[in-house]
């Protein structure tokens, strides 16, 4: 394989990772506020279909993306209302919506199956595109891909370097303490759930208008992406930069599955296509193992020198979830 082809493939990984990056950042914001939005798998499918539909009808990519965000925000509002206001189980509501939105997407999308729609083309950035290697990799992408890359930095800065970000960490970590300091916990949780949902809703049309153009019903191949986004959120330790790394890793594995296909004829191609999904989940195992009791005991029994190194490695992989994730907040 020539270097050019590899470079072309890796640029494709950055592009096909874009929707996952955006969705993961959305879910990271939501979960940082202490709410789990489990509906992602359905939301991505529904927003992908509706975004595509709107783009076809209006012949405008912008309205397509906007429609996707509205869908994501609406579904997130249902999650927020039932879990924050009505105090129903977040997991239950999210799961129901994941299934219902998926079926709704397949039902409503039936008439537009196979339609031709607008496709987002790439826009090269002058001068930067001529940098060897990097230019091809990063600066000959579509507008949404640039936005996804910028978003990683913005989200990181927002969460860790600004006052509202500090407050966001507070309402997810110790809502009672944040409340005492004057934060309106319920309102902020609503806000971040809806904003996060809107971002997830942006990921859908990004598939149908750019990465995998068109709506093809059940064979669109987006079923499962939402679940992976949830896993990558954990893998990323609720940190946008690490989460983006996870998203690109997943996109890379998917590409690898395609590239290796001709060389691994003994494995059915269908297996290689689904392989990245379990691999990503296995990655969770490494991230979480350090938190378990037996691991702590094992490490404690190691000789000093090895132990220090083991602890260091484990700490660097570990991720700790926001303290109040998934629990409703009650004012006393």
């Amino acid at each position: 394989m020539g270097n050019d082809i590899i470079l072309f493939g890796l640029a494709g990984v950055i592009a096909s990772g874009a929707p996952i990056v955006i969705a993961v950042i959305g879910e990271t914001l939501t979960e940082r506020a202490g709410v789990i939005n489990l509906s992602l798998n359905g939301v991505i499918l529904l927003s992908a279909m509706i975004g595509f539909w709107v783009a076809v009808e209006t012949d405008s990519l912008f309205f397509g993306f906007l429609a996707g965000m509205v869908v994501g925000a609406l579904v997130a509002t249902i999650v927020a209302f039932s879990s924050i206001t009505l105090k129903q189980s977040q997991v239950a509501v999210g799961f129901i919506l994941a299934i219902t939105c998926r079926d709704l997407a397949y039902f409503l999308g039936n008439p537009i199956m196979g339609s031709q729609g607008p496709i987002m083309l790439s826009t090269s950035i002058p001068f930067l595109k001529d940098i060897p290697i990097l230019g091809r990799l990063l600066f000959q992408q579509s507008l949404m891909t640039y936005i996804s890359i910028i978003m990683i930095g913005v989200a990181w800065f927002w969460i860790f370097k600004t006052r509202p970000g500090l407050m966001l960490q507070g309402i997810g970590e110790k809502p009672a303490a944040a409340y005492v300091r004057g934060a309106n916990v319920q309102k902020m949780r609503y806000f971040y759930t809806i904003v996060g949902g809107a971002l997830v809703g942006l990921a859908g049309p990004l598939y149908t208008l750019s990465v995998k153009p068109g709506w093809k019903g059940t064979i669109t191949g987006l079923d499962g992406i939402g679940w992976i986004v949830l896993a990558i959120t954990i893998f990323g330790g609720w940190n946008p930069i690490r989460a983006a790394f996870g998203a690109y890793l997943f996109a890379f594995l998917q590409w690898l599955g395609l590239v290796l296909q001709p060389y691994m004829t003994s494995i059915p191609s269908q297996v290689l296509q689904v392989a990245p999904f379990p691999l990503m989940i296995l990655a969770l195992l490494f991230v979480n193992m350090g938190n378990t009791e037996w691991m702590e005991r094992l490490i404690a029994s190691l000789p000093d020198k090895v132990r220090l190194r083991a602890v260091k490695i484990l700490r660097s992989m570990q991720s700790r979830q926001p303290g109040a994730l998934g629990t409703p907040f009650e004012r006393q």
Partner: protein
């Protein structure tokens, strides 16, 4: 407030949920320029119109009931066993694999079927046990461990259908080579449903009902579900009970998979679990995790599934509409429950 009044208010809110979901689906149907009443009538007739259709409903009802029975066990210990789909699939894979081993032997078909079904149950239990191990020893939340195992089960299933167990010459989405007829669970003459699978479903329901309601073991599972720490202090070995609840669930899911192979498809197909696992999760939520309403609600869901088949044939609508109806029903019942709790201030 007397008890019967509380109960009737509760029922009222649940019916409210049903009405809202029907309204919601009607609005969607009007949006796609269809007649809601026509669609509902079609679904109803598609499920009850003649004896063949009713028997098809039962074909769906059996695995749905078994799967939900299993889920009641994991829900009792507070676990979200999303890995249920994979557990059904692995059950079906084990059943098919073992049956393939014994096809050429002189063992009686009855014995082969029995061994294969048992193998399926063990397969489901192993897969559920893995989700439990990931949770207990790997610190992986059971939702994500389960999802990962679902993906692996799917890959394994497709790999076998297109690889090692492919039909000679034509490996395809239609599945593996069908088993000879003597290895099928016997059905009523021309109908698709087997009396044996119905018997399994009823026995399963009775077992799970009494296990959860009437035994000390069921009580301990509940204690673990209510709160890990306090149950541990009471001297109940918590993680062992959690693992057991997973394994019990896996046995049921594996049985459902085994029935799909031995009584319904007579071979392994790519979508062998038919989404029954996720539907089972919804049913469990709708019946508020109590076995008492399981049989009729599962029958209702099964009827919707079979009735929905008519939608694409007659009205050119996608059959996923019934999924929307089922999902919105569970959602609206849950929301109306929440509204009741919030504004009437009762649990």
């Amino acid at each position: 407030m007397n008890k019967s009044r509380t109960r009737s208010i509760s029922l009222l809110f649940q019916l409210g949920g049903l009405v809202f979901s029907l309204l919601f689906v009607s609005i969607i149907l009007i949006l796609v320029k269809s007649q809601p009443l026509e669609a509902f009538r079609l679904i109803w007739e598609g499920a009850t119109g003649n004896a063949t259709r009713i028997s098809s409903v039962l074909v769906v009802w059996v695995p749905l009931l078994l799967v939900t029975c299993g889920l009641l066990s994991t829900f009792t210990t507070g676990m979200w066993n999303i890995g249920i789909e994979g557990q059904i699939t692995v059950g079906a894979i084990f059943t098919t694999g073992v049956m393939r081993l014994f096809l050429e032997t002189s063992l009686s078909p009855v014995l082969v079927i029995t061994i294969s079904i048992l193998a399926g149950m063990i397969g489901g239990a192993i897969w559920a046990g893995l989700a439990g191990v990931l949770k207990t020893f790997g610190g992986v939340n059971e939702i994500f461990g389960g999802l990962g195992l679902n993906f692996i089960a799917t890959a394994l299933n497709i790999g076998l259908i297109f690889g090692a167990w492919s039909r000679p010459g034509v490996a395809s989405m239609s599945g593996t080579e069908p088993f000879p007829e003597q290895f099928w669970l016997p059905t009523f003459q021309n109908f698709r449903v087997s009396i044996w699978s119905i018997a399994f479903a009823i026995i399963g329901l009775v077992i799970i009902y009494f296990m959860l309601q009437g035994t000390h073991f069921g009580l301990r599972l509940k204690a673990v579900g209510k709160g890990m720490k306090s149950a541990f202090r009471m001297g109940i070995p918590t993680w062992q009970h959690m693992m057991l609840s997973f394994i019990i669930c896996g046995l049921f899911a594996g049985l459902a998979g085994a029935i799909q192979v031995t009584a319904v498809y007579h071979r392994l197909i790519p979508s062998i679990s038919s989404g029954y696992g996720f539907m089972g999760l919804m049913i469990a939520m709708l019946i508020n995790y109590q076995a008492i309403w399981l049989a009729p609600i599962a029958l209702f869901f099964a009827a919707l599934n079979i009735g929905g088949i008519q939608l694409p044939i007659v009205l050119k609508l996608d059959s996923s509409l019934t999924g929307v109806l089922q999902g919105s029903l569970v959602l609206f019942v849950m929301i109306s429950q929440g509204v009741k709790q919030k504004f009437l201030g009762r649990k």
